[in-house]
Subunit: 270 residues, 2 copies
């Protein structure tokens, strides 16, 4: 079920008109018809039952009825979503440029990760040590906004959370605390033969947590790889080209989710 | 093997210094050491053997030796890539906003698709019918540049090609001409039970072509789905949230590539 985020100019009116891009989103993307309903949220998170009253070329008129937070809203939105089960995925993303981090967090939330954290490692290009406190706060605020928007747009039933500080790589295993399977993606072969993703997931119950650690553009150093392996993390070598950080995370999460969800539900035969 | 794109200010000199971001890319991301070599390309596609001569904080000095196009360049680049086999993937992407299309084409090329095309369908938001010829040309030029850059940065051994015009959805089956498995991704259940991706790929030889058709934000209409099914395209319902167009393509391509490449190579047991 989709949710529609009311613009900041909305202040509880009983009817409200949206125009331009937002009107097009309702009429052309969601294909909402007059009389159909949709869950709405105002900027403070308040919940509304929205009913489409009138559509013209560039404008949609909505009636907005406030509902209690705990009330179920039955939406006639024509795009139903998968309702689960979801794998329990934690993305541990090494620092990249700010815009890339936002894209990664947004896409990982869309796909349905349970939690997200930023990790600092040796070859990370952005060096945060000299960053002022407020720059870091605004960075996390921007990431938080991306997560929130993605949760709403994707209709995700999960409440994706974000670790509100940067984890140094050497603290990651202690932070993870053997909650489940821990994987890190590395572009080079390790000395020990590496199992494939399919093999690592072959007897993994869908609800058991998985940590997905993705390196920075420069990858992990040999010392970092050895440290992670000794802490029980499995190095996975993807059978693909050299991926940028912002592609590697989505790639790994997508493959894991498809392998686990397609196995979990009963196979449908042609 | 990575390739380094020489800046437009390079004109065949025997030594060349790069600074700032590009110097950091060589020293910190690729971690090239003095004496190590890397394949270079100038803006015209000319091939060079680059050897790192000197590194200072913000500057790398390279010696550049022109080599013939057909010569093999042995690079000591420390980030080796997977060399194949690759699935034979064609991404058929319905039109989105220009910036999103560029991101999709870049990421699909990184992952290693064989070809890419833009498709127009009923619920595409960008309406190109009134666009002037030159706007469309510059759109394809920008996409072409993204594909080229991604091929080089990802070290892809494939020569990803792009269809230089927009395919109307009704012409897609004829254009595809039953070259192999054809899939389209659709957010709603169809009347017929739908096989999973894993099932559809279960006896698919890795080299056999696969078309991956991804809808616009508004999805496909019922008529479009019926048309595609009658033309032999399989509707795939991904077991995930509602994905934006720019996530759906990468999601599908990643899952297909992992399923096929991990099956193809001998499993490594722990």
């Amino acid at each position: 079920m989709r949710q529609f985020i009311l613009p900041s100019s909305y202040h509880g009116e009983a009817t409200f008109a949206v125009e331009g891009k937002e009107s097009q989103y309702l009429s052309k993307v969601l294909r909402l018809k007059v009389g159909q309903q949709l869950l709405g949220r105002d900027q403070g998170g308040g919940k509304y039952m929205l009913t489409l009253q009138e559509v013209t070329k560039n404008r949609c008129l909505l009636s907005c009825a406030k509902v209690d937070q705990q009330d179920e809203v039955t939406s006639t939105d024509t795009l139903p979503a998968y309702r689960g089960p979801y794998p329990n995925l934690t993305l541990l993303q090494c620092l990249c440029k700010g815009r890339k981090e936002e894209q990664i967090f947004r896409q990982a939330t869309e796909i349905g990760v349970s939690s997200l954290a930023l990790v600092s490692s040796r070859y990370c290009i952005p060096d945060l040590s000299e960053k002022k406190e407020h720059a870091l706060t605004s960075r996390f605020d921007r990431l938080e906004a991306q997560v929130k928007e993605a949760l709403q747009q994707s209709g995700s039933p999960l409440s994706t959370t974000m670790v509100p500080h940067i984890l140094p790589l050497e603290e990651v295993p202690k932070w993870w605390n053997n909650r489940g399977l821990a994987l890190f993606f590395h572009q080079s072969e390790r000395e020990q033969p590496q199992p494939s993703l399919t093999k690592l997931l072959s007897d993994h119950p869908i609800e058991r947590p998985i940590a997905v650690l993705v390196g920075p553009e420069g990858g992990f150093s040999d010392e970092e790889c050895t440290f992670l392996e000794e802490a029980g993390f499995h190095a996975v070598l993807l059978k693909t080209n050299i991926l940028r950080s912002e592609t590697a995370g989505v790639y790994a999460l997508s493959a894991i989710q498809v392998i686990l969800t397609e196995r979990e539900t009963k196979p449908v035969h042609l």
